[in-house]
């Protein structure tokens, strides 16, 4: 995969205007979902003894392919060693594996330079890192930080903490009833006092794909840097940080078929160079003395201590695995499953879909008129269907819609129309028993 082509196809306004005359995908380009699915051992199991699992909680975390599981196994069996300091063979192997994963991640997001990739524990740590370093450097008393109403708590709380510390104000770009950002009101929110914008690429609760390119252009027109939360976009679309011109882009590996506890922060090199370190310790220094310490260059400046080596290596394998896919075909498949699920769930009486933006990916949130999401989720679970219920760590957004929570089915490339049928059958049973 690699870069611009894929991104342009996703974000272009003509994305959904497929000409009717387009020929069906050829055999070579079609996505073989059954073969793909077979790569994921966890999907092959039964739950509650004899009920085949339907896994629809991919916005929370994705399952892992054999390639990633095997890579972790191999690392611990053969290469395990600390990185960057050892002179011995294993340490060199581990360092090579670690740094080659960084190169894979740089290609995955199409970074200009490999040093622009910082390994983190995940999206949350990436956002906290930016808030604590770049944020403190950039945001001053009286400034404004612009967020949106659909942000995950992890893209709200670090900025609130920063705002409180420096005396800045949080502004919130609202969303429409359908779940789109009020771009028409951007002018009222992006003001001469705006010092920083933090926005999610895709809403974890609504599935809306936000026009981050336009937002970044508008912010950059007044020299305001933009932090993009890519937790929900990285698994579903090609990411090109250069085409986006994002100042920072963060995501978690575990939603992209990679291990848990590992993710990346992409940052423009000029920012990473100017930013102070996040944590102090080993592996991030140039020279240490009690008179003073000088820091290493990025990325090491931001990776204090022994890193999560095995999971970095596993994440490298995961994104290589993803980059090997035919993304036009994968996206056509994912779009088909989402459209089918939307149509089927919408047809159920007493069910309302939350989030009906025209540009969506792989998330279907909905509520019953008279059944609590928790009850529905508990029953679906007993039927072998894994969904998420609740506020999805977006309490301000749920409040905006006056809902205590939603039922969220979130899809990955391995989900099928058959999974949707199981979900819909399950929802019908829920209605029978609880409605």
């Amino acid at each position: 995969m690699g870069g611009g082509g894929r991104l342009a196809s996703v974000l272009s306004p003509t994305h959904t205007l497929m000409p009717v005359t387009t020929s069906p995908p050829t055999a070579a380009s079609a996505f073989d979902v059954e073969a793909f699915r077979a790569d994921f051992p966890a999907l092959q199991q039964d739950v509650y003894e004899d009920t085949p699992l339907v896994y629809l909680d991919n916005a929370a975390t994705s399952q892992k392919p054999t390639a990633v599981i095997d890579r972790l196994d191999q690392f611990y069996r053969r290469e395990n060693s600390n990185v960057h300091r050892g002179v011995h063979r294993l340490s060199q192997d581990a360092t090579d594996a670690y740094e080659s994963a960084r190169e894979s991640l740089a290609r995955f997001v199409n970074a200009d330079r490999t040093e622009e990739i910082i390994f983190t524990r995940g999206t949350t740590e990436g956002l906290n890192l930016v808030a604590s370093t770049f944020g403190k450097m950039t945001v001053e008393a009286g400034d404004e930080i612009l967020l949106t109403e659909m942000e995950h708590h992890s893209n709200i709380v670090p900025w609130q903490m920063l705002a409180e510390e420096v005396g800045a104000e949080i502004r919130v770009l609202p969303v429409t009833d359908r779940g789109e950002l009020r771009m028409d009101e951007l002018g009222d929110y992006l003001t001469p006092d705006t010092a920083l914008v933090a926005v999610t690429h895709v809403s974890n609760t609504l599935g809306t794909i936000n026009p981050v390119e336009a937002l970044i252009d508008a912010a950059h027109a007044q020299d305001v840097p933009v932090v993009v939360d890519g937790a929900q976009s990285a698994p579903h679309m090609p990411v090109d940080v250069q085409a986006l011109d994002a100042d920072f882009f963060v995501f978690s590996g575990h939603k992209v078929f990679g291990p848990t506890g590992i993710g990346i922060l992409y940052g423009k090199h000029e920012h990473l160079t100017a930013m102070p370190p996040y944590q102090g310790g080993g592996d991030m220094i140039d020279q240490v003395s009690f008179d003073g310490t000088t820091y290493d260059d990025p990325p090491h400046k931001f990776e204090a201590g022994t890193p999560n080596i095995a999971d970095v290596v596993g994440l490298g394998t995961a994104v290589e695995y993803v980059m090997d896919l035919d993304w036009d075909a994968v996206q056509a498949h994912e779009d088909d499953v989402l459209a089918y699920a939307t149509e089927q769930v919408e047809a159920l009486e007493g069910v309302r879909i939350v989030g009906t933006a025209p540009e969506k990916t792989s998330v279907l949130s909905f509520v019953f008129d008279d059944i609590h999401p928790y009850d529905a989720g508990t029953f679906l679970d007993r039927l072998g269907i894994a969904v998420r219920t609740g506020h999805h760590c977006t309490q301000p957004l749920l409040k905006r819609y006056g809902l205590p929570g939603t039922i969220r089915a979130s899809f990955a490339a391995y989900n099928t129309r058959e999974d949707v049928d199981r979900l819909v059958d399950g929802l019908k049973k829920v209605k029978q028993m609880l409605g």
Binding site: I371, H372, Y374, D375, T378, R382, G390, P404, M433, L434
Partner: protein, 143 residues
């Protein structure tokens, strides 16, 4: 409550009732029925003080101490049916019991009726929180 009046007698009674169902669907249907049978908590009792935190649904537990009989009277409610059913179960074993019995009550019977998954702390259904709340109320009167 007939002759079966200790916490463990009542728990055994529940276990016996649930043993009549041999699939989860029957057990859940019965659980919901039990929840439907307990009276709704009047709105003026749905206070912050009675609100049980840590649940995906709203849950309230109200405890009143009967000075004369030295027993606790519990009421509970939830806007989720499964949660209300769980509230009905735990209320049933500790209602009108002396504070000491409530504080020491054993809820392992939930295991026996196939609802143990609700006891795990991360289910967010508040069952654990409800039980803790009842025990805490009991301890304030147990002297």
């Amino acid at each position: 409550m007939s002759a079966t009046n200790t916490v463990s007698d009542r728990a055994q009674e529940i276990v016996d009732e649930f043993s009549l169902f041999n699939d989860w669907m029957g057990r859940y249907e019965y659980l919901i029925e039990l929840g439907d049978d307990i009276p709704q908590l009047p709105d003026d009792h749905k206070t912050d003080e009675n609100y049980v935190h840590g649940c995906q649904s709203d849950v309230w537990i109200r405890a009143d101490f009967d000075d004369e009989d030295r027993v606790l009277h519990f009421q509970g409610d939830s806007n989720a049916k499964i949660t209300k059913g769980l509230a009905a179960l735990v209320i049933r074993v500790v209602d009108q019991q002396p504070p000491g019995a409530v504080a020491d009550a054993d809820f392992e019977f939930l295991d026996e009726i196939g609802l143990q998954e609700h006891l795990s702390s991360q289910r967010n259904n508040g069952l654990r929180a409800m039980i803790e709340e009842m025990r805490a109320r009991a301890r304030t009167h147990d002297s």
